[in-house]
Symmetry: C2
Subunit: 522 residues, 2 copies
């Protein structure tokens, strides 16, 4: 877990190594990826007309009022009852009047700033900005050298490092992989330690139960000097609905804990149409909308104005097996319409970037990922989770795919910038000077724009066949395999105040003692 091995090197050796690293970085376009968030000036891609959006809205209101949802948590039922919802305490069920829901939802901000410990890494959620976050919730990790294996803490550290180094990723990640070598009740402590010490990007931590958020908020207070900022959240997590129409106590504990502290809840129904929702996408989306709005309303009842993100994760099941199907036309519809629904309520929207069912970083992984990221970006998804690394329906994160996906995020950043149309760029004088049959490679107009005219890939290969073959004939995953090793060798942790580091370690040491053998959700 030591990051630099610097103690074993002399001062001169360290300086030489840093100089080598600087030279190497100067060579790789990966290190020149833009730090600022992408901003989209395109109108969001829409699939439904306003009447259809309204029909889904009305259907979801009927679901909230007439079907209701299970809320398997007494505090949640108390809050809903106090707000005027009809609650059946024995059945742990509540029916939410549309007036109650829409009034509460209207309290949610349409945009907010999510502070990172490095202010330059703070990010905007909402408006014309997009944010990309790495994979989350994966159980296995794979790479070409070691194959597929259950994740361990060292893998977690690797993923935080790669996330920190990739400018296109805007949070330090949440549950990047399960650290199987850490006892269950201590895992969140290790995740928080690595997120704070190896990254200076915006924090995320599982919104599970009440203990983990309490520890996450305690760490956040340490990071931000004792108190949480008043002008925006510093940490957030995903709240998954147990679709259909059920919030369990683990998720409600997390929702209430983060919302009460003014932190980010990303309220995300998990619907496989045909299994956890109707087989028809209109019905699945009406259910998604009802479930998301119920959670968002609850967050606003806990603390009006709490930052929330409307999450969509609806796709279809493969009906022959019941398995989830990712990167599908139906999932693309849902991603786009989810954005339309979120906009109807003036809420920031969360989607996903790299959903796919492939078992390895092959062409299927790449084209299904395209069926996930293209709709998400064009739908103007404010917060794109799982934007790198996913494989195998989210069970596995691939180190090679992590970088392949990052290349695509960088391409989208470029794409969304668009290009100028003006006298300079229309280049009539240059077209005239070159004339028919000439070429533009050496013109002053080209030379002046040589370095920045086009997106320069860090992974894609454009060599002629023979040169590519002479260079080893490596496919994209094998090139990515080389690159992540190069990157990890060049990783340097961001500056960390030594007082903070000590306080963090002391906190974690104390909590490790207190939580050993505990049931976090008891």
């Amino acid at each position: 877990m030591t990051e630099t091995g610097g103690a074993k090197l002399s001062r001169g050796e360290r300086a030489a190594r840093r100089a080598r690293q600087r030279r190497s970085r100067a060579r790789s376009p990966f290190f020149r990826l833009p730090q600022e968030q992408p901003r989209s000036l395109l109108p969001p891609l829409e699939f439904l007309d306003p009447e259809q959006v309204e029909a889904i809205h009305q259907a979801s209101m009927t679901i909230l009022e007439e079907v209701g949802l299970d809320f398997l948590d007494d505090e949640a039922l108390d809050i809903l009852a106090r707000a005027g919802a009809k609650v059946d305490r024995e059945a742990r069920h509540a029916w939410l009047d549309r007036g109650l829901v829409m009034e509460a939802v209207s309290q949610a901000p349409s945009a907010f700033t999510w502070h990172a410990r490095n202010p330059a890494r703070s990010l905007v959620i909402g408006g014309d900005a997009l944010a990309f976050a790495p994979n989350g919730g994966t159980v296995f990790v794979q790479d070409l050298d070691r194959g597929r294996r259950p994740g361990v803490l060292d893998d977690y550290a690797t993923l935080v490092k790669l996330t920190q180094m990739c400018n296109l990723l805007h949070t330090a990640g949440e549950q990047l992989v399960v650290p199987h070598d850490v006892p269950v009740p201590l895992r969140h402590l290790e995740r928080l330690r690595l997120a704070v010490t190896l990254s200076d990007k915006a924090l995320m931590e599982a919104a599970h139960g009440r203990v983990i958020p309490q520890d996450a908020l305690a760490v956040a207070r340490l990071v931000f000097g004792g108190e949480l900022p008043q002008d925006g959240p510093v940490i957030g997590g995903v709240i998954n609905v147990n679709s259909p129409l059920r919030y369990d106590s683990r998720m409600l504990g997390g929702l209430i804990s983060y919302a009460r502290a003014g932190q980010v809840t990303i309220i995300t129904p998990f619907i496989l149409a045909g299994v956890m929702g109707p087989v028809t996408m209109a019905g699945a989306l009406a259910q998604q909308n009802a479930e998301a709005l119920a959670g968002i309303a609850l967050a606003q009842l806990v603390r009006p104005g709490a930052p929330v993100i409307y999450g969509g994760f609806t796709t279809n099941a493969d009906l022959r097996s019941g398995a989830p199907a990712f990167g599908t036309p139906e999932g693309a519809w849902a991603a786009i319409v989810g954005g339309q629904m979120a906009r109807r309520y003036g809420l920031p929207y969360r989607g996903s970037g790299t959903l796919n069912s492939s078992k390895l970083p092959d062409a299927q992984a790449a084209y299904e990922t395209a069926w996930s990221i293209w709709p998400s970006v064009l739908a103007h998804t404010h917060f794109v989770l799982h934007a790198v690394g996913w494989l195998e329906a989210g069970l596995t994160v691939s180190l090679e795919k992590f970088l392949m996906d990052a290349e695509n995020l960088a391409m989208f950043h470029r794409f969304l910038q668009g290009f100028p149309v003006d006298q300079e760029s229309l280049a009539l004088a240059s077209i005239q000077a070159v004339g028919p049959g000439g070429h533009h490679l050496g013109t002053p107009h080209t030379q002046a724009r040589y370095a920045t005219a086009f997106y320069q890939p860090f992974l894609s290969d454009r060599q002629p066949f023979e040169s590519w073959q002479e260079a080893g004939g490596l496919d994209a995953p094998r090139r990515a395999n080389r690159l992540w090793k190069t990157l990890l060798a060049q990783y340097e942790p961001p500056p960390l105040d030594s007082g903070l580091e000590e306080a963090l370690e002391a906190f974690i040491a104390r909590r490790r003692q207190e939580l050993a053998g505990a049931d976090l959700y008891g």
Copy 2:
């Protein structure tokens, strides 16, 4: 080159084989892909505002008037001079007044029907329809068994067969691969023979010079019973501009020949920004527009109302090497804006589907292809050429990638259909009946829609890791490798009138004699 080997089998054996094939087809979703063209109800994705479109239009008018183009063909110069263009015969150069160009362009139809020899395969170009055509112009072919090699006639036949079998492809293809084992002056005859005998889809043949189109038109007349239909074209080809600003005699011969016969010319500048056009995309697109409109105007001067397609193929060069860069953000801009320009003139639009620089059917091939097909489909490209198979900047066609790309075309077909939003599909009764925590897999609402609710892939794998591993752990290319072999084993040629077949063979035999050793472009 025999297709069935049927002569060696008894009648009973043939019947048994056909029964096996029918059973096998019933199993593979590939054979159930929709035959009708995809239709897009989405508004086209646009990148520029109307003022920017107008600025590009105005710049291109200035190019046509003040810079002009080379036309390296006397007949073309005659036609332009007669129409009032200023022509320098010695320099083989013409300046085209905007009035002349726009008047001519306005004669072009905005939509037309392209007849196939099987009327059920005739296709609409324009309106809300999209058409997909296979790869063209490739030199090498590759598959996992035999690697990369120069194409031969047998490869050509393989590609026509796969094209014929894939319902998502709407033409029989043009120059699918170079048949190196056929002498140069006879290649078009063999291409035409295979296109007519192995496929019943719309014909394409190289618009190169005057001899090839003359033979192609002769074959088309045989296919259509002696005369070409008057209500729409039956054959077409791509006219590439030698950008910047030059039409060579080979392309002009093809353009004039097809246009005079009322057949389809797909007028496509080939611009690598920074090499064959300005490094700025606005300038490259202004040049593309000037070049495309010049050729379209010429086609209309040859025959007012001749069916034309406005072609865009602009992408960026990799400025470090001068190599073309495909599947790039800049190429995506150009694909989208090309559609905007074509719409400004009421012209059908041609783009490309699978442009990429990868040397093998890996993840790079797939994600760069996504950067080609996603913009093309969303820009509402009426004619998507190279919609399957491309690799290596168009030098190679991959049999495995052919099917991977076909899977994506089928997904787009589904995606563009959208989904209903009505009382049935909103499924409130079913949501109520299932209730919280239940599941929808066995409900009557799901069962009634089981078979058709979702796109069913023929290549993508959604099995759990263990099942996938037990089944051989094949990546997408290896599964595609199995599939194209299965398909080829099941290929049956479409019915062909024996009189037509004899006439075709007689024509080809005669022309083989006449053209042996000829210079087609002399």
